[in-house]
């Protein structure tokens, strides 16, 4: 039985090594996608431009007079813009990380091939 087990483990390891690049673009992509989405969610929770937009006509700090309302509206408007922009940057960063995941195998292959070619004489 020991022989059978060792044989099976050996084949499993072999298949695993072959499956690894394939996984990177299937299960791995899914994993990376969820990971980046989680990261984006954390940013969204902290910046929460949606919450500011929802309250855009609600005066800040309980200032219900007309001046307070105007100032609050303007303040909230710029906050929504600023926070939205920051969230956009964050989204780009998260997407960039996702793209990095997608690019890693290609970059490695490119690098390996490149290392065998004669130096590009740059």
């Amino acid at each position: 039985m020991l022989y059978l087990i060792l044989q099976r483990l050996f084949f499993e390891a072999l298949l695993d090594a072959l499956y690894f690049p394939f996984w990177w673009y299937t299960g791995g992509v899914k994993h990376a996608m969820f990971w980046c989405a989680d990261m984006f969610q954390v940013g969204n929770k902290n910046l929460s431009p949606g919450l500011w937009l929802k309250n855009i006509f609600v005066p800040m700090f309980g200032q219900y007079d007309i001046q307070g309302r105007i100032i609050s509206f303007l303040m909230r408007f710029f906050q929504v813009l600023g926070r939205g922009f920051a969230l956009l940057i964050w989204l780009i960063f998260c997407l960039a990380l996702f793209i990095v995941w997608l690019a890693i195998p290609a970059v490695i292959v490119w690098g390996l091939v490149g290392s065998f070619l004669p130096a590009a004489k740059i």
């Binding site: 059978l4 099976r8 929802k54 005066p59 800040m60 490695i108 690098g111 490149g114």
Partner: protein, 924 residues
């Protein structure tokens, strides 16, 4: 409580592979490895982990191989990159990287091809390592989330349910749930160990007992049994001894199969985890399932004094520890992203400087970790949330002191920090109004003004939930002409407007006295907070034991926790559960450490000793000395009480029953009525009981009922209305609940006063004038009476047997004094017999021995001759007055003479005085 008889789950096993998932070394072609199934909650739960010799060895090998693979990948990756760094350092190219980081790509391209190859190879190894880590971690699945709606349909027959294996194939993958992925590694190892155990000992089937045996070798399980005071090794020996030899000798190629019991256990443990809202199925769930499934193990547990509740509470203890840790992590994470300035996320709130000076922010305190975790209060939380969801604005928690009203609100503060509350409470602050700050240094009018300021602050801020602890303290603080405006009225006026949500607390009495009739009662929705039941209190104590163990360097057995809750529920009525039990455990920890030293085990005995010290009630288990003393109780009592066998027997039996707790716990230990003429030993027997059982005559509460001949006496007994601590009877019993209550000459009391004792004798409780319940269940009630004495004496003179006299007395003579329902409540009515000459002689001996004892203290010896006793008996005997004339005779004939002799110097130290015939005293 024994374990419930469970109905079998309809577990379906693949007939082709017999539930193993494998045929030979290959996956079963029929079930594709999903060898066991159970239709539950509208889906098919599938077990697809082949428990076979080959598969277990393969999995074991895979586990080792995975470790080797990880380590190899780490070594290869580091090797490549360290070499790469070393080579570029040696070639001098490193300087290009350090000097201008922007030029890295160019510097990298300029490297030798071999160097770059090493780098990229290292990158491949790193990615492979990353891949392995993710893949291995992703394997673990979770138990389904508990669905309250599906609770009812879980067991009901459903459309599309399956009852036969042939139907399993028709179930699509989307309706299947593989449960073995929700089992922890530890649980899987336990299953593997059980299989290996059965395989090694050639059992044809893996039975529940094999799994139990295997579970005992896991730390978490052996800890559970250590808490129960059972060493797991001894338990393993018991189980293996009872397993017997395998039914048949097997050749090495045939393998054990899963028994039907074990198949049930696999699914039952999953269901246990689901019901207990656990994320994973761990060894604790396996333990519960295995014991529930096997009648043999239930018997074994029963022999070891482990009942269902006990086992479930200890398992819950193990779970609580994990849950507390997870809650701590969750709270700290939530706390870090929450504002500490009291501002909500949308910044609509307003600063509340005025409110802040009269309050403390409970959500902030919770963020800073000031509160303990709230356990077993789901019901009250749900009730509060129901009011919130229903649009209610104000909630008042009503319950006695110490039941945990404030802890519930602290738990709510934690939930608010975690945002685990209905939307109306999210992103809000819970602020506790300090009533003392509000009222300090101002007049009632000033307090009202402050309160208005606070209310306006809260209304404007819009993110504050107000908490008023002990709201009754605000009622009665009145201003205006003749106290026309009460602070509480102002409060209710603002609360009625519904601008903000308020939670308040008060006690039952205060609610009835102050809130129910005031304007506040219309504003609040009342939620009753009851005293915890014993199981809930045990869970609370378990949740706090960790800190106590750490502080005192001791280890608590489960029996100690259980005992602390049981004893405090029974004997400590001043504080409610769980407060009383927490106090006891904390004292028991310190007591054990001082008695046994560091790292010792706190058992039920230490807890009982602490309770005994506190209350004076003997609750420790009966020792050999004590049990022999209890068995010879009659002998001991007869040393003081002469004759009266019936009375002594009755009392001794009652005391024995009480000590081993074979008695009703809702009544006093015993209620006796002692009838008989004066001087026959009624009071003496009562004193003897107090001395023998309660540890001293001073532990007797004696009330002369002749002082209560009119109705006003009631107020002396239970206290004047509204005045605390004025009841003679209630206060005495409240201070010393473990006592003998002697009601002397009860026939002289007013009949209405006797009615008061009907409840005491029947329910063991009496309510005093302030509404507090006083517990009489640890008292012995003895009433003495001379009622019908002359009748008894007449009958005795007529030579009628004592039983017949008693019968006639009960049905005739006594009814003049007592109502039948009163007499009916006594456990024993004893007619004390009149003393005969022989009894009097013995009594004379006892009395003289007391005199001899006094003389001995002065260094003199008194020798009593038998003829002297005869003489004293003859002069001191009067059948009508019992033993009392003997005391007088002794005074006149012996004690007076002795006093004269001592004063005149006739006797000195070391002298021997002989009391001889005719009461003569001679010095030898």
């Amino acid at each position: 409580m024994m374990f419930d008889q469970l109905s079998q789950l309809n577990v379906l096993a693949c007939p082709s592979c017999k539930g193993t998932g494998l045929v030979g070394f290959k996956k079963c072609s029929q079930c594709k490895g999903a060898s066991l199934g159970l239709w539950r909650r509208n889906k098919l739960l599938v077990w697809s982990y082949p428990l076979t010799r080959y598969n277990l060895a393969l999995l074991n090998g895979r586990r080792i191989w995975n470790k080797i693979r990880r380590v190899t990948l780490i070594v290869l990756w580091l090797n490549c990159w360290v070499w790469f760094l070393f080579l570029i350092y040696r070639s001098g190219a490193a300087i290009n990287f350090i000097s201008s980081p922007l030029e890295w790509p160019a510097a990298f391209s300029a490297l030798y091809g071999q160097y770059k190859f090493l780098f990229w190879l290292g990158a491949i190894f790193l990615c492979a390592l990353w891949y392995r880590v993710i893949v291995e971690r992703n394997k673990a699945g979770l138990v389904e989330k508990y669905d309250y709606k599906k609770k009812d349909i879980a067991d009901a027959p459903q459309s599309g349910s399956i009852s036969d294996w042939s139907q399993v194939k028709t179930i699509t993958n989307s309706k299947r749930l593989v449960i073995n992925s929700a089992f922890t590694d530890e649980a899987m190892s336990a299953l593997g160990e059980a299989y290996r155990f059965a395989d090694k000992h050639n059992y044809p089937m893996v039975a529940a007992e094999h799994l139990f045996y295997a579970l005992l070798s896991f730390n978490r399980i052996s800890n559970i049994f250590i808490r129960l005071g059972i060493p797991s090794k001894a338990l393993q020996d018991d189980v293996s001894a009872s397993l017997g030899s395998p039914a048949k000798t097997q050749n090495s190629s045939s393998m054990p199969l899963l028994s039907v019991d074990l198949q049930q256990i696999l699914f039952r443990s999953y269901e246990e985890a689901y019901e207990a809202h656990q994320d994973y199925v761990s060894v604790t769930e396996l333990l519960v399932a295995v014991i529930k499934q096997s009648p043999f193990l239930q018997e074994l547990m029963y022999d070891l004094n482990v009942e269902k509740d006990k086992l479930m509470n200890v398992v819950e203890w193990a779970r609580i520890r994990e849950r507390l840790y997870r809650q701590y992590v969750k709270l700290s994470r939530a706390a870090s992203s929450r504002s500490k300035t009291g501002m909500d996320k949308a910044m609509t709130a307003l600063a509340t400087p005025f409110l802040n000076s009269f309050s403390e922010d409970m959500t902030l305190l919770s963020q800073l970790g000031h509160f303990d975790y709230c356990v077993a209060r789901e019901k009250e939380d749900e009730e509060i949330f129901r009011v919130v969801d229903g649009g209610g604005m104000n909630v008042i928690l009503v319950g006695p002191h110490g039941v945990g009203k404030r802890t519930i609100v602290e738990g709510l503060a934690e939930k608010m920090v975690e945002d685990d509350v209905p939307p109306r409470l999210q992103d809000k602050r819970l602020v506790k109004l300090s009533i003392s700050s509000l009222l300090a240094g101002t007049t009632p009018a000033g307090a009202i003004e402050r309160l208005i300021g606070i209310m306006n602050d809260i209304a404007k801020a819009r993110n504050v939930i107000l908490f008023i602890h002990n709201i009754h303290e605000l009622v009665g603080v009145a201003a205006g002409g003749g106290g026309s405006l009460d602070v509480a009225d102002t409060l209710s006026e603002y609360l009625k407007r519904g601008h903000f949500f308020t939670i308040a607390t008060t006690t039952d009495e205060e609610y009835a006295q102050h809130i129910a009739d005031s304007t506040l009662s219309n504003v609040f929705t009342k939620i009753d907070v009851k005293e915890m039941d014993e199981n809930q209190a045990i869970q609370v104590v378990e949740s706090k034991i960790g800190a106590l163990e750490h502080k005192n360097h001791v280890f608590f057995a489960y029996s100690a926790v259980e005992k602390s809750v049981q004893l405090s529920a029974r004997y400590l009525h001043e504080i409610y559960l769980p407060g009383s039990a927490l106090e006891i455990t904390s004292e028991a920890a310190a007591y054990t450490r001082s008695k046994k030293g560091d790292d010792s085990l706190v058992t039920a005995e230490e807890v009982a000793a602490v309770v005994s010290d506190k209350t004076g009630i003997p609750v420790t288990s009966v020792t050999t000395d004590e049990s022999s003393k209890l068995l010879k109780l009659e002998e001991e009592m007869h040393q003081r009480v002469i004759g009266q066998e019936e009375a002594v027997d009755l009392v001794a039996n009652a005391l024995r029953r009480a000590r081993v707790e074979i008695r009703s716990k809702q009544r006093p230990i015993a209620n006796f009525l002692f009838l008989g003429p004066t001087g026959v030993g009624k009071t003496e027997l009562a004193k003897t009981i107090a001395d023998v059982y309660f540890g001293g005559e001073e532990r007797m509460t004696r009330i002369d009922m002749s002082e209560y001949q009119d109705k006003t006496g009631i107020y002396r007994l239970i206290g004047a209305p509204g005045e605390k601590g004025t009841g003679i009877l209630t206060e005495a019993i409240r201070r010393h609940p473990f006592t003998l209550l002697l009601l002397d000459e009860i026939e002289k009391a007013d009949p209405d006063i006797l009615n008061l004792f009907l409840q005491v004798m029947d329910d063991g409780r009496l309510t005093d004038s302030t509404g507090k319940i006083v517990d009489f269940t640890n008292a012995i009630l003895i009433a003495t009476s001379n009622a019908g004495t002359s009748y008894v004496q007449e009958q005795m003179r007529a030579g009628i047997a004592s039983d017949a006299i008693k019968e006639r007395l009960l049905h005739g003579e006594l009814k003049q004094y007592f109502r039948p329902e009163f007499l009916n409540r006594f456990d024993g009515i004893v007619l004390f017999k009149a003393l005969v000459l022989d009894d009097i002689k013995k009594i004379a001996g006892i009395m003289l021995s007391r005199v001899a004892k006094d003389l001995e203290a002065k260094g003199m010896e008194l020798v009593i001759e038998d003829s002297a006793l005869d003489f004293l008996a003859s002069v001191g005997f009067d059948p009508e007055f019992g033993a009392r004339p003997m005391r007088r005779a002794l005074q006149e004939r012996v004690e007076n003479k002795l006093a004269e002799m001592i004063l005149s110097g006739l006797v000195k130290r070391r002298d021997k005085i002989v009391l001889g015939e005719g009461g003569s005293l001679t010095v030898v």
